[in-house]
Symmetry: D2
Subunit: 147 residues, 4 copies
């Protein structure tokens, strides 16, 4: 079977309030754009946060990394390419590349890793308790993982 | 009996990430400073949000107003004077004046009004269910109200 | 001549990071949504912030008001109706109504007033120095003002 | 000569608006706390951002990393330990550890790397143009670097 790798693409405008006095997007906002992008991907894949939270689960962030290659500015769009690159049954990870869609310049690369836990932040066996969600994440991982 | 009016004073530094590309504090952040200031006052008066939330209550904001008189900048402090100016048993209001503590210039005036409701956002009779909290708010109001 | 009143409509998703521990959009974010909405309207009317800033002008906010009628939540859209309601040659104002586009409920009403000044925040005569911009604002005002 | 390693300690309160609907500090805010902490350290060392910007320089962020070990909550303080761990004449880096000062628990570890450039974001030779600033950074690096 051939698995076609797929990258989810999410585009958003830069807001004025995203800038700082350097005249560029404040670096902390890329972390927020990453959140928007992975939520977009999960929505597209029918495992959006309403799906997750309706099962009494939350997905806290374990770690993030972000490299600021070129600055983004107010008035520009930013296009975020998201891949689902890791899954071990309890944790998963995303990788992100952010572009200026007009100039095609790469602005930022990043990654985030996450746990799936109960709403009270205690552990759960996804495979046993939510096998459909588990299978969906395996499928995304098989599709997107780096080889 | 003489009631001495009292203004709670709260001072904080301006963060770099509070600025925007105009080189000044983004106006939305004054709304956040107001929140910090009223939480400070409530802490000082022993009715802090831990007290409120431990009783299964929350204090949603009903309205805010803010007048931006002079801009604040990164590197400066901002000093916020807070008064508890209205209370009718279910709703209350604060008034704020923000100063540059070095130049004494008035930077901002604002107000916010609030409801006290249950954590699920449904109404409650404070006077009946939490008479100590109710009495404390009456006392603050008698002290700070505008005459 | 019949002037057709026009309301600019801008819709955006609620981000996860817009929420607070009450489980609703933090009230300060409505002030940011207002900024997005008026920038959208100015873009639609060809007087976007790039137009403004290319002339060495900035548009600081003088005041905002916001009434929080019903809470917005993560996963919902919010639809903002914006009108240009005041203009006196140096200052102007917008009014906003925010809706849940699915339930049609009114969530928030607000307003903001603004000055047009030079980038160094000193005054300018718009009518004399930028008559085309001035005329455009008169036109918007004539169209949207409350009668 | 004995160089005493020194860790700058910066403590701040968690704001209500720092939380999200998971009831914990939104992860993006740790990136902002890191900024506050390094600005605090630079102030303490007399190379604060006013010093930097008065010389026509800015310090854009090149990368950040953050590991979220335990969540912080509204009403708690957070204590940030900052070290200046890298400097090569053009770039430098900080490392951060964040603690709950009451429980002594480690909440977060992170790092950030930075360039020193002109305000227009073009390169500069710090050693040649600002030798005093250069020497100060060498001194901090010698003091804090990991051996």
């Amino acid at each position: 079977m051939v698995v076609t790798k797929k990258v989810d693409i999410y585009t958003r405008k830069i807001n004025y309030y995203d800038t700082d006095q350097m005249g560029i997007v404040h670096h902390s906002n890329y972390i927020r754009y990453m959140e928007e992008a992975r939520i977009h991907m999960m929505d597209v894949e029918n495992i959006g946060l309403d799906f997750v939270e309706s099962r009494g689960l939350v997905i806290p962030v374990l770690s993030v990394e972000s490299k600021f290659i070129k600055p983004a500015h107010f008035g520009e769009d930013i296009e975020i390419h998201t891949k689902f690159t890791k899954f071990n049954g309890m944790k998963f990870a995303f990788e992100y590349e952010m572009y200026n869609p007009e100039t095609k310049e790469l602005l930022n690369t990043g990654s985030s890793s996450h746990a799936i836990v109960k709403a009270d932040l205690t552990p759960i066996s996804l495979k046993r308790k939510h096998p459909d969600f588990y299978e969906k994440l395996v499928e995304l991982y098989e599709r997107d993982k780096d080889e």
